[in-house]
């Protein structure tokens, strides 16, 4: 009996991510969700600009590479064209919460029936560690060398809290992938976000608190500890919106 194998939706190629980066875990969770729902053949993914820019190489489904921040608009086009297909975006914090904030908010408020996987690691990884819209107060990055000064550059954006104020979206949850328990929970949430789309429930966004050892200047273990000690207190985990919660309870 096989108890552990690579998800079929994950391509058999080496990932380019840094050692200790949690993108690999989240890719796997997305692929597992696609496998378990049996939707690989009708899934179309939209990759971002950022560390996950090459995600189109890593999933076996049809993939589209979008311009920076525009994945929710591209996904809107794809889903409006092919409403029977499953469409997901995979975006980082710079992509989703800075340059693409308008596309994110409006796709959510339109309740586009798409799935958004949002990687929040509080930094721009691909370009070498600049301050992100989600970098924590005081966080040292290449472009906040004295620490993020909220008096001059403002505060980090809590995307789940903000989007959950909208009438539109169906499901908003924040998870983390810093330990086994959280990874399992993240897998459940990501699967639910795809299931919602299969059941035509509308816009689902899962924010995944992730680590970036390279640009945080930490070992992989220290980075995971920082997720627990610094990130999660600022970005509390949990379900922020679930339009269909009562329905399921019955």
């Amino acid at each position: 009996m096989i108890v552990f194998e690579k998800p079929k939706s994950l391509a058999n190629v080496p990932l380019h991510y840094c050692p200790g980066c949690t993108h690999g875990i989240v890719h796997r969770l997305v692929a597992e969700a696609i496998d378990s729902l049996g939707i690989e053949g009708k899934t179309i993914g939209v990759a971002p600009v950022g560390c996950a820019v090459l995600a189109y190489n890593y999933f076996n489904c049809d993939m589209i590479e979008a311009a920076h921040g525009r994945a929710p608009a591209v996904a809107t086009g794809v889903k409006r064209s092919l409403p029977e297909n499953i469409v997901f975006t995979y975006q980082g914090d710079g992509d989703l919460a800075s340059i693409g904030m308008a596309e994110t908010v409006h796709a959510a408020t339109r309740n586009e029936n798409i799935t958004v996987i949002f990687i929040n690691n509080a930094i721009y990884g691909m370009t070498g560690g600049q301050m992100a819209p989600t970098s924590l107060p005081g966080q040292v990055t290449q472009t906040s060398p004295y620490g993020r000064d909220v008096n001059t550059v403002g505060y980090p954006i809590r995307v789940c809290e903000m989007l959950s104020q909208l009438e539109g979206p169906a499901y908003i949850e924040r998870v983390a992938v810093n330990n086994v328990k959280n990874v399992k929970n993240a897998g459940r949430a990501i699967k639910k976000a795809f299931e919602n789309q299969v059941n035509n429930k509308g816009f689902s966004l899962i924010e995944v608190i992730s680590s970036c050892p390279t640009n945080w200047g930490k070992t992989p273990q220290a980075a995971l500890a920082w997720v627990e000690e610094a990130m999660i207190p600022y970005y509390p985990l949990g379900v922020y919106k679930d339009k269909f919660k009562d329905e399921e309870g019955k």
Binding site: E40, G41, K42, T43, I44, V46, V53, L54, Y56, F59, N60, C61, D62, M63, I64, E65, A66, A67, R70, A73, V74, A75, T76, G77, V78, K79, R80, S81, L82, N85, I86, A102, E103, V105, H106
Partner: protein, 354 residues
């Protein structure tokens, strides 16, 4: 249906797009092209299509990118300031070899400019304002009938060559009403095996992408794309000649400017001046060969345009020194009267323009 109906240019574009099988329209309100969106908002829901007012021109062009990735005909429209915002998307569409129809109903610029007609986005359209080496097919209608006909042609060419076709109109062409016959023709369609429609587990995955981190690969992609552009330049140039057989003063004008020029030429002929016109219908590919040929018989050429000599540069390059090339222009939303163009023809005929 072959009855003539009275329509605005903008509406003719919208109706022709539906005839061409376009069922997805994304736009953002901006004067003077909003009738296109209004038309689509009414019609699309009735025929199972998508009309979506996007949150911005940037979002709209990326929704176009999404639909085009799935292999379906799709369009957006805007006016000059909005076209600046769409320009990022135009570069990405080019880099991913995606077909799309984009309409620019030009108004005066730069900046917020004005809302009156202009042709000052000539460079943006024909030289391509976005980053990287690329071209778009640029079609310049000069009547409401052509607004319709070139829209259908634009969709076909976009699919055939996997690139953006742009309708480069102006506020007058968009707003004016003329009788138009929109034939319910069967449009040419093309296979799109590259489209991302879901593998159905029956084929290898498709990827729509413009990223090539290996420079030799990116160079190869660029060179291949320019081979395609070369064949378009050889095969798809469209222009119309007016009174050119014996013309000595040759006007080059497109769109609205060509209509004013036509009146000026008739007036010049009445005064015994042998004037004529080459009217580019495709601005890219530009009708270089005919301009070069006609430059041999010309005493002078005049680029008649609602911009600061943008097209004149292409006329000069095409004439290649065979005759002097002068400029007759108004900008900022002002339009020349035929008399102003006639005065320029007379000056040129007398041996030079001040």
């Amino acid at each position: 249906m072959a009855d003539k109906v009275l329509m605005k240019g903008n509406e003719a574009i919208a109706e022709a797009a539906l005839i061409a099988g376009c069922r997805h329209y994304f736009g953002y309100p901006i004067t003077p092209q909003t009738e296109i969106a209004a038309y689509m908002a009414k019609r699309m829901p009735k025929i199972g299509g998508t009309f979506l007012q996007a949150e911005s021109e940037i979002a709209a062009i990326n929704m176009v990118y999404g639909v085009s990735s799935t292999g379906k005909r799709v369009m957006t429209s805007s006016a000059s300031p909005g076209m600046s915002l769409k320009t990022e998307g135009l570069s990405y569409l080019a880099g991913a070899d995606l077909p799309a129809l984009v309409v620019n109903v030009q108004r005066g610029g730069p900046g917020l400019g004005g809302i009156q007609p202009s042709q000052s986005d000539y460079f943006h359209a024909t030289k391509c304002g976005g980053h990287g080496d690329y071209h778009m097919i640029v079609l310049a209608p000069a009547s409401v009938q052509e607004m319709a006909d070139l829209t259908i042609k634009g969709f076909e060419m976009a699919d055939q060559y996997r690139m953006t076709s742009m309708i480069l109109a102006d506020g007058t062409m968009g707003q004016m009403m003329e009788p138009v016959e929109i034939k319910n023709v069967e449009t040419k369609t093309f296979e799109k095996p590259w489209a991302t429609t879901g593998t159905e587990m029956k084929r290898p995955k498709n990827v729509v992408n413009s990223l090539y981190l290996e420079p030799s690969e990116l160079e190869k992609m660029n060179i291949a794309r320019f081979e395609k552009y070369k064949s378009i330049e050889e095969n798809e140039v469209m222009y119309e000649e007016f009174m050119m057989d014996d013309a000595e003063i040759v006007l080059v004008a497109y769109g609205l400017s060509s209509r004013v020029s036509r009146n000026a030429i008739i007036a010049a002929r009445e005064k015994g001046i042998k004037a004529g016109m080459i009217r580019p219908i495709t601005l890219w590919p530009f009708p270089k060969a005919i301009i070069n040929k006609r430059a041999e018989q010309a005493k002078a050429m005049i680029s008649v345009e609602l911009s600061m000599g943008q097209m004149m540069q292409d006329v000069q390059l095409a004439a290649n020194g065979k005759c002097p090339v002068y400029l007759c222009n108004r900008v900022g939303g002002m339009i020349f009267a035929p008399e102003e163009v006639l005065a320029k023809i007379e000056e040129a005929n007398a041996g030079g323009v001040k």
